[in-house]
Amino acid sequence: MLVINDLHAGIGDREILRGITLRVNAGEVHAVMGPNGSGKSTLAQVLAGNPSYEVTGGSVMYNGQNLLELDPEVRAQNGIFLAFQYPVEIPGVSNAYFLRSAYNEIRKANGQEEVDPLEFLDLVEDRLKLVDMDQSMLSRSVNQGFSGGEKKRNEIFQMAVLQPRLAILDETDSGLDIDALRIVAQGVNKLRSPDNATIVVTHYQRLLNYIVPDFVHVLANGRIVKSGGKELALELEEKGYDWIQSSTPAAAGAVA
């Protein structure tokens, strides 16, 4: 589904990703872990097409297409979804209007008919339950006045409605208490299927008790320095990121 090869990217003159290589197949869950500043959020943003980042080398193929040539909205229309680390507040635009617009734009791009507001309400009702949110949130402005937990749940709610083929969760767990974390994880797990894939970007192992990954990759200084199964996350939690960073040269050599 997704083939990243030697990806280099950064902001301005600062290179943040220094050669990421990663392959994600349908049905898989990949966890990307790493210390602050290792480039994990940058990877998520670059995959979603944030124009603030410049790709300086390498390639990303998504279902046989050159992903890097596509505008962010086209990526979304083709099934890529990024759950933001810091969801954006948009005063004056209701959640319902925002999400219905997104839903219809994606349908239009895929040659499907748009849905009207009433049909849309029916459609989102059980998705709201999935993340334990009340219908009243639909009439509120996008993320405005939402608590940290509500914002993250709103991201998962959007994901549940838009049903992406490749979901990228950027530190969706950070700042969540354990109840909110469970709700979020439960939402993600319900949406897993053999046809779609998930990349979970996280700083902590905790989330991975609830969203069990098939693969864990550790990022440091813009490179994947270690890959393994779900045990790697536990080992990392136990030994800390210093363990990885001190063994970086050897690990980097092994990956290359």
Partner: protein, 475 residues
């Protein structure tokens, strides 16, 4: 024939030339001279009115058109108005058309001298056919197009011309007393030409069930000086919509003044909707005096005209009088839209709230100047003012000047102004959900404007303005 031809403005001339109706034209340099000539041609009114008009025209001649050296006009040059010689629109319309009108009546085809049929006005009525509506064409009252029956004994509504003719004491008492013209050239000019407009008197405790719509329709290249007077008695209540629209593009000039007197406990909602032709000129002043415990809720929507200025002035004269002055201006192309507000806190315990927003595109220029004066006696004043602007193009410009002058020591006043562009982070957020740049831009711009439109309590009006704003920003 020659005399009329000489008086044509350049634009009018080009139109006439195209139709080969008239040939000779000359452009006059000094338009003040033209106004003086037009003044001399005005039909004479009652003595008190003649005296008021004379004071007005004399003051206008004394002040002349404001220049950008005048602090109130620092960001707005009125040269395009000053350089043109506008003829009075109403005079030509009201003369000698009785025959046509009569003929039209006999045919059962309701129309007015300007040839305007009611169906042409549908699109300016916010989908509401049962509002009390007074229509004015080129500044003159169009009875055939108006409908305001069944207002009851406690409400008096008529054209100002009619009220003057019938010798209304209230008109004589208040006209020209609220809108000061000692320092305001355009108000002085309007005062010089007071002829017609709307007159509404609400007797004590009168409550008007439906909005009163004053609809000013322009259709030509002349100048009109609409003058409205609203006198609201003790605990009376009414909603006014004052609209300025045009049926086709014209380089006409509207110079309007509305005076409002709010008695103790009166509650007036006033919506000014400025949708003039994009080649027109508009200067409109709304000036109010508020008695004890009265409430004025004003909303100013401005989107028309090549050069437009709206002044909303109020004076909180009585204890605990309140006002909210909100507004939205949308500019594009080479439009210049200026908004000036003034709130005089004269009495204590008065709250005043103000939110103005502007969305500026193309090479347009927006101006906001909001003054709040707190007089020494106006203790416990609670004043809030903000002005936020969104620039949609790199060549659009806005000048914003919130101005607070406080002479009392126990007050709470805040003000702030912002000028920004579309938020790129929000843009990416929308893009990442499948919404393309154009749609996202529409959505974000609409959201910015909708925020202040939400303060409009008159629902049909809010709905129509929201639709209008959305349509305007749709790519």
């Amino acid at each position: 024939m020659t005399e009329t031809a000489i008086r044509k403005s350049t634009h009018e001339n080009s139109v006439r030339e195209a139709s080969k109706a008239e040939g000779v034209t000359t452009r006059k340099a000094g338009s003040i001279e033209t106004y003086r000539e037009e003044f001399a041609r005005l039909p004479v009114g009652p003595e008190w009115l003649q005296s008021l008009r004379k004071q007005g025209i004399a003051r206008f001649e004394g002040l002349g058109f404001p220049t950008t050296k005048n602090e109130d006009w620092h960001f707005t040059s009125v040269a395009p108005i000053a350089e043109r010689s506008f003829r009075l629109s109403t005079v030509s319309e009201s003369n000698g058309d009785n025959e046509r009108r009569g003929a039209a009546r006999r045919k059962g085809d309701v129309t007015n001298p300007a040839g305007i049929t009611p169906s042409l006005l549908d699109r300016f009525q916010f989908g509401e056919r049962d509002w009390h509506t007074l229509v004015f064409t080129n500044g003159g009252f169009a009875e055939d197009l108006s409908s305001f029956a069944a207002l009851g004994d406690s409400v008096r509504v008529s054209s100002l011309a009619q009220a003057i003719k019938s010798g209304s004491e209230v008109v004589e008492r208040y006209l020209g007393k609220i809108a000061r013209f000692d320092q305001h050239a355009f108000t002085a000019l309007n005062t010089g030409f007071i002829s017609d407009g709307a007159f509404v008197e609400l007797r004590p405790k009168a409550i008007v069930d439906r909005p009163i719509h004053l609809l000013f329709v322009s259709d030509g290249d002349g100048v009109s000086h609409p003058r409205n007077l609203i006198v609201a008695g003790l605990h009376s209540q009414a909603v006014f919509v004052e609209s300025y629209v045009s049926l086709r593009d014209g380089e006409y000039f509207t110079n309007a003044v509305t005076e409002m007197v709010l008695g103790d406990g009166a509650h007036i909602d006033h919506y000014k909707i400025q949708r003039e032709s994009e080649t027109a000129f508009h200067v409109g002043t709304v000036q109010a005096r508020e008695g004890r415990d009265s409430q004025l809720h004003s909303f100013s929507f401005a989107t028309g005209g090549s050069l437009a200025r709206t002044n909303i002035y109020t004076s909180l004269d009585g204890d605990a009088a309140t006002c909210t002055l909100n507004g939205l201006y949308l500019t594009d192309g080479t439009q210049h839209i200026d908004n000036q507000t003034s709130i005089e806190h004269i009495a204590p315990n008065c709250p005043s709230h103000e939110v103005y927003k502007g969305v500026l595109d193309g090479r347009s220029h927006g101006v906001f100047n909001g003054k709040v004066y707190v007089h020494p006696e106006a203790q416990k004043t609670d004043g809030k003012q903000s002005n936020n602007n969104l620039l949609l193009s790199p060549t659009a410009r806005v000048d914003t000047k919130p101005q607070l002058e406080i002479f009392a020591d126990d007050v709470k006043c805040t003000h702030g102004a912002t000028v920004g562009r579309l938020d790129e982070v929000a843009m990416f957020y929308l893009n990442s959900r499948g919404i393309g740049r154009d749609a996202a831009r529409t959505l974000l711009t609409y959201a910015f404007a909708a925020d202040v439109l939400e303060t409009i309590e008159l629902e049909p009006l809010r709905r129509e303005l929201e639709k209008m704003v959305l349509a305007r920003f749709s790519a």
